[in-house]
Symmetry: D2
C-alpha cells in the first residue's frame, strides 16, 4: 500500500501531445497499459472520464467488454479509482456549454451523459465524482445572462445529486473551478465561487471542491490560500496537482516544475491538515517528449511531492523555525481576538496603534529559512 494516495488521470499519462498549433506527438495508450505501468511506479490509483475508457459511440457490448477488462487490470494491480468524471467538453455539441448551453436539448443530453458516466464510476468503485465545467462559459458575454447560467448549473448538480441518492451510490461530488480556457470566461472561475455555489445546492453536504494548481494560478491567485479556504470549510474533497505560470494558457506541467515555494506551502498545508483524499496529478509530459518521457514525468511528480513532504516535516522540526514562527507571532493567529470584551474596552485599545506599529514581524528571516530549507542548504 503506497504511503501517499497518488493518482493519475488516464488522460494525463495518455496525453498524446496535441495542442492548438500542432498534431499529436505520441501514440494513444491502452488504459490497461497505463494501469499496469502506474502500479509498477508506485501510484495508488487512477482517475478517468467516461470517454477515456469507453470511446463515444461504443455499443453496450463493447462498453461492457472494455469495462470488464479494465476492472480486471485494476484488481490485478490493486490500483484504486480516485475519482471519475464526465467528458462534457470534447464533443462539438457542447461548444456552447453542457449544463449551461443555451440549447435546452444540449443541457438535457449533458445531464443524461453525466448519469451514464456516474453509473460507470459507481461500477468502477469511485466514491468521488468530479465536475469540471470547462465549456460552461462565454466568449461573447452578451449571449448568456450569468444569473440564468448559474441557475441551470445548480439545477444540473441538484438533479444529479438526486440521481446518486436514488441509485444508492456511495458517492460524493467535487466541483473543479477554472477561470478561462477553453471558454473566454468560465462560470465558477475560482475555488471561492465554487464554494459559494455549493452553499446554494439542495445537498450541500455531498458536494465539495477539487482545486487545481494550474487553474487558480492562471488567475494569479494564491493556491495555498484557496486550498486553505476549502479546508477551513471542510470542503477539500479532491485536489489536482500540477505546475503552471501565471497569466498563461493552461500548461498542466509536472508537479513542482513551477513555483517550488508555493508547492512547498501547499504540501505542508495538506500534510498538516491531515488531508486524506487522492493526490491527483492532473498534468502531462511536455509535448517534445515521446512515450519514454511520459514515465519520467510521472515519476517526477511523485518524487517531488515526497521530497516536499519530507522537507515540510523537517522544516517544522527545526528549532530555528519554531523561533522564527514565534517571532512572527504565527501561532498567535490561532487565538481568538475577542473574549467577551466590551466595545468600550476594544475602542480604548485602538488608541494604542502608534505603540503597536513599532514591532517587526520577522517575515524576511522566516521566509529566508524556508528558502534555505527548500534549497537543502539548511
Amino acid at each position: 500500500m503506497p504511503e501517499y494516495r497518488f493518482t493519475f488521470g488516464l488522460w494525463t499519462v495518455g496525453n498524446p501531445g496535441r495542442d492548438p498549433f500542432g498534431a499529436p506527438t505520441r501514440e494513444p495508450v491502452d488504459p490497461v497499459d497505463s494501469v499496469n505501468k502506474l502500479a509498477e511506479l508506485g501510484a495508488w490509483g487512477i482517475s478517468l472520464h467516461d470517454e477515456d475508457l469507453v470511446p463515444w459511440g461504443s455499443s453496450a457490448a463493447e462498453r461492457d467488454r472494455i469495462v470488464a477488462r479494465f476492472k480486471a487490470a485494476l484488481e490485478s494491480t490493486g490500483l484504486g479509482v480516485g475519482m471519475a468524471t464526465t467528458n462534457l467538453f470534447g464533443h462539438p455539441a457542447f461548444k456552447d456549454g453542457a449544463f449551461t448551453s443555451n440549447d435546452r436539448r444540449v443541457r438535457r443530453a449533458a445531464i443524461g451523459k453525466a448519469m451514464r458516466s456516474i453509473d460507470l464510476g459507481a461500477e468502477l468503485g469511485a466514491s468521488l465524482y468530479v465536475f469540471w465545467g470547462g465549456r460552461e462559459g462565454t466568449e461573447a458575454g452578451i449571449a448568456k445572462d450569468p444569473r440564468d447560467a448559474l441557475e441551470r448549473y445548480r439545477e444540473a448538480i441538484d438533479v444529479l445529486g438526486d440521481y446518486v441518492a436514488d441509485q444508492g451510490y456511495d458517492m460524493r461530488f467535487a466541483i473543479e473551478p477554472k477561470p478561462n480556457e477553453p471558454r473566454g470566461d468560465i462560470f465558477l472561475p475560482t475555488v471561492g465561487h465554487a464554494l459559494h455555489f455549493i452553499s446554494t445546492l439542495q445537498r450541500p453536504d455531498m458536494v465539495g471542491v477539487n482545486p487545481e494548481v494550474a487553474h487558480e494560478t492562471m488567475a494569479g491567485l494564491s493556491f495555498q490560500h484557496g486550498v486553505g479556504q476549502a479546508l477551513w470549510a471542510g470542503k477539500l474533497f479532491h485536489i489536482d496537482l500540477n505546475g503552471q505560470r501565471i497569466g498563461r494558457y493552461d500548461q498542466d506541467f509536472r508537479f513542482g516544475a513551477e513555483d517550488l515555494k508555493e508547492a512547498f506551502l501547499l504540501v505542508r498545508l495538506l500534510e498538516r491538515a491531515g488531508y486524506e483524499g487522492p493526490l491527483h496529478f492532473d498534468a502531462h509530459a511536455y509535448r517534445n517528449e515521446n512515450a519514454d518521457g511520459v514515465w519520467d514525468f510521472a515519476v517526477g511528480c511523485m518524487n517531488t511531492y515526497r521530497a516536499l513532504a519530507e522537507k515540510a516535516a523537517y522544516f517544522d522540526s527545526l528549532p530555528a523555525v519554531q523561533e522564527a514562527l514565534a517571532a512572527a507571532s504565527t501561532n498567535e493567529l490561532a487565538m481568538s481576538s475577542v473574549d467577551g470584551d466590551s466595545p468600550e474596552t476594544l475602542k480604548a485599545e485602538s488608541e494604542a496603534l502608534d505603540e503597536l506599529a513599532a514591532r517587526g514581524y520577522f517575515n524576511e528571516a522566516l521566509d529566508q529559512i524556508l528558502v534555505e530549507v527548500l534549497l537543502g542548504v539548511r
Copy 2:
C-alpha cells in the same frame, strides 16, 4: 433628486496623486468643498473612511466639530452617504493585517477602531458599512495559516455584526474583495471567496458584497460574471465602478476608461436586475492632472454610466437584437432543463449529441451588433 445614485468617496476626488514612486501632485481637499462640488455636478452622495473626515489623533471635541460641519454640508446640499468604512490599512500598526494581524493586540485595536468608525457612519446616516481588508494577507505565505486567518476574519465580522445589532443601528455590511496589493496575496481575493465567507457568518443575511471593477479585473476575471453571481445570490449590496487593465497595479481609472464592452455588459446587467444601491465611483484622476482635472474625471464617470445605460436600453429595443438573442437561444437559458423526466429519458437523449452539434449559436453576429451599438454606428 438625481436619476442615478452616483456616489464618490471623499478619498477619490480628494486623491492627492501620490504613488509608490512619486510625491503628491495635488493639494489636499476640504471634504466640505468636495460635498459642495459633487452636489453641483449632480452626484447623489458621498462615501468615506473615518480618517477621510476625521484625522487620526483628533480630540473628541475636534471630531465633533468636524462632523457637525460636514453634516451641515450634507444637509445643505441634500447629498446622501452611500456607505462608510474604516481605514484599517494606512496606519503602520496594520502592516501585518488588521483583523488578521498575527498580533492579537492589533486585531483588537482594529475591531475597536471599526466600532468607532461604525458609530461615525451611523451618525452620518450610512445604512451600509463596507469592509475592504486590504492588509489582510501575506507576502510570505509561511507566516500565516490561511485557516487561522479566515477564522479571525470571521470572528471580527461576527463581533462587529453583534455590535451593530446591539446598538440598534439600521446598517448592513458589504465585504469588498481584492486579490493583491498592497499585500502579496489578500484573503478573500474575489467576489466568489467573499460570497462563500459570508455563508459562514453568524448573521449572513446582514452581509453582502461590494465588488469593484478594478479588483476582479486585476485577476483577469469577468466582472459581469462576478456581479452576476452576487446578484443571483441576492448579495449585491454596493458596487465600486472604475477602470483597470488586467494583470497590473491597482489603477482606479475613470469608469469606462478601459474595456468599454465589459462596462456596457455591467451597466446592462445592473439596470436589468433593478439594482438600486449606490453606483460608487471608487477611482481617481490621473496623477498628471491638477485640481481642475479632478472634476473632469468626476463628470466623465457619470457621463459614461449614463451613456451606457441609454445604450443598454436602446440595444434591447432593437428588433435585430431580439432576433439575434433568439438565434443564440439566450432566453432559452432561463428555462429549466429538466421537468420531472426520468433518468432513462435523459440518458436516451444523450444519444442525440451528433445531431445537436450541427447548429451555430450566432454569437459573432450578436456580439458584432453590440459593438456597433456601442460605437453608435447602428
Copy 3:
C-alpha cells in the same frame, strides 16, 4: 479596388474550431471557396501557410494542380496575396523547435521546408514573407541556452535572406513575435525583441516585423506603443489584427471584440502614419459558430476597422479635440527638447521644477472626449 487592404488567412476563415479540449465544430473549407467568398465580401486579399493550400505529403503533380487552381481563383476574383508563410509548428518533428530545435537535422529540414514555401509564395506573387516562430522556445528553460537559440535563429533568417536574394525574388521578410503558447516561453517574445534581432541580421533592410494584437496583448503590453516603435523604426511591414484579453490563452477573436479604445488608438495611428501594407485579420470565429458564423465574423472584422477609421478622422476634425490636444501639449512632444543649448543652461533650467509642477495635462478631459466619440455620443 477595395479602399482598405483587408486580408484574411486561409487558416482563419478555414479554422475548424478545434481547441485543446474539444473536437472540430466546423468542416474543412476549400481554399478556393474561401477566395470566392472573401472577394464577394470585399476583402483585398488572402494570406497562407504552405500547408493551408498544399497538404503535407502531396506529390509534385498534386501540388502543381492545387496551385494552378488556386491561382486561377485569385485571378478570377482579383484577390491579392498579402503574405505567405511556412507552417513550421504543426508537424510533430517541430515539437522542440524548427530553426532552434536542439536537433540539427530538424533545423535543416525546417530551413528546407521554408525554402520550398518561399518558392510557393513567390509563385503566388507574395511580396512579403512572414516568420512566426511559434515552436522556437522552451518549457524547460534548462534545455536551451538562449544565446545559442538566438544564434541559430539569426543563422536561419540569414540563410533564407540569401536564398531570396539568390533566386531574385522581390520579397521582404516580417518577423512575428509572440511571448508564449504553444511553447512555455517563445524566443523573440515581443515587437521589441524582434526589432532588436533584426538589427543583428546580415540583411536588416529586407526584414521588418509583423506585430499581432493578440500576441502583445497576452503579455499586457500596449499594442499602440509596440506598433509605434515599429513605425518609428520604419519596420512595420505587416500587421495582424484581432482581439484578445490580457493574460490568457491565444484567443484570436474578431477585431474589435475586445478593448475598443486600444483598437481605436491603433487604427488612428496606422491611418495617420500612412501605413499601406495589408490589414490582416489573423483571427477566427468563436468555436460555437457553424459555417455561417464564419462570414459574420469576417464581415465584423472589416466593418469595425472601417468604423474606427471613420471615427479617427472625425475625432481629429473636432475643434474640441484640437483644443484638448493643445491643452495636453501633445504636439509639443514633436518639438526637439534641446537646440544647441549649453549644459549650464539646461542645468539652470532644472531649478524650475517646483514651478513646472503646477500645470495639469488635461488627460482626463481629452480621454473622455475620445470615449464619447467612440460611443458616438459626441
Copy 4:
C-alpha cells in the same frame, strides 16, 4: 575583496515601507549608516539616485558637505559605487514624463537634472549610469504619439551621451526597461524594446541594458531569455535582482523569494557567461518589517545568490546532468545548422520530417534533475 560584486541601492536598504495605501513603517536611514552596515555584511558596493544622497533643494555647500562625508564612508569601508542614476520620477513636475513629458520645459529640466546627477556619479567614481524611465509613458494613450515620445527619448540619451564624452567621464549608460507602473504603459517596456532603441542611438556602443527580474516578470516574460538576448548582443551592462510574481504591482521582493527555478537559471546563465558587472539587489524588505528585518533581507539576497551559484556549478558537474543534456541535444544547438549546403540539399532533407518526429527530447528527466538538485535531494 568580496567574491561577488553584490551591490544595494541606498533606496533599497533605506526603503521606509510606504505604499499606495499606507504610511511608512520604518525610519529614514542615514546613507553613511547604510554604507557601513553593507560593508560589514559583505557587499561589494552601493548604488544611488542623486536624491538618495543629496535632498532636492540642497544648497551647493550642503551638497558638497554631504558628498564629502559619503565619499569618506566609501573610502573607509572600501565599498564601490556600482552605478548612479537620476531621480526623474519623484518630483511632481515629472508627472507627465521626464525626457518625454509633453511640456518641453520639463524635458529640458530633466536633461539638466540628469547632467548634474551624472556629475555627482562621476565624482563618486561610478563608471555606469542607469536610466530608468519610470514616468516615460501614458495612462491615456491618446495624449502622446509614441513615435514622438521615442524620438524625444532618443534625443535625450544622445544629448547626455555627448555630455559624458565632452566632460571626458569614463562612464557607460544602461537603460532599464519596465512595462508599467507608475505609468499605465511605459515606453521601452521590455529588454527587447530597449535593445532595439539602443541600436538607433548616436553612440550605441556606450549604451547597454539593465534588466530587472521584477520588470520582465511583471509582463510574464522569461527573464532568462531576456538576459540571454542582452548577453548575446553584448549589452548586459548591469542587472537588477529581486523577486516578483507575474501580473502584479511591482513587488521588489528579496532575491529568490519567488520562482527559485528561474532564479537558478538566471544565476547559471550569468556565471557561465562570465558576467562581471554588479549584481545589484534592487529590492526591499517586506513592509511588515522594522529596521532589523532590513538586514535579514539584505543577507538573504546575498545568501541565496551564493547558494544558487554553488548549485549551478554542482549541477553542471554531475555526470547525470551531462548525460541528460546530451540526450536533450542541448549542446547541438551551439552548432551551425547550415554549412554551405545547397538549397536543393536542404529542401530534400525536409522530406525527413516524419522520421525526425520519433525521438523525444528528454526534457522531463532533465528538468526533474534540476528540481532535485535545487531541492538538494540529488
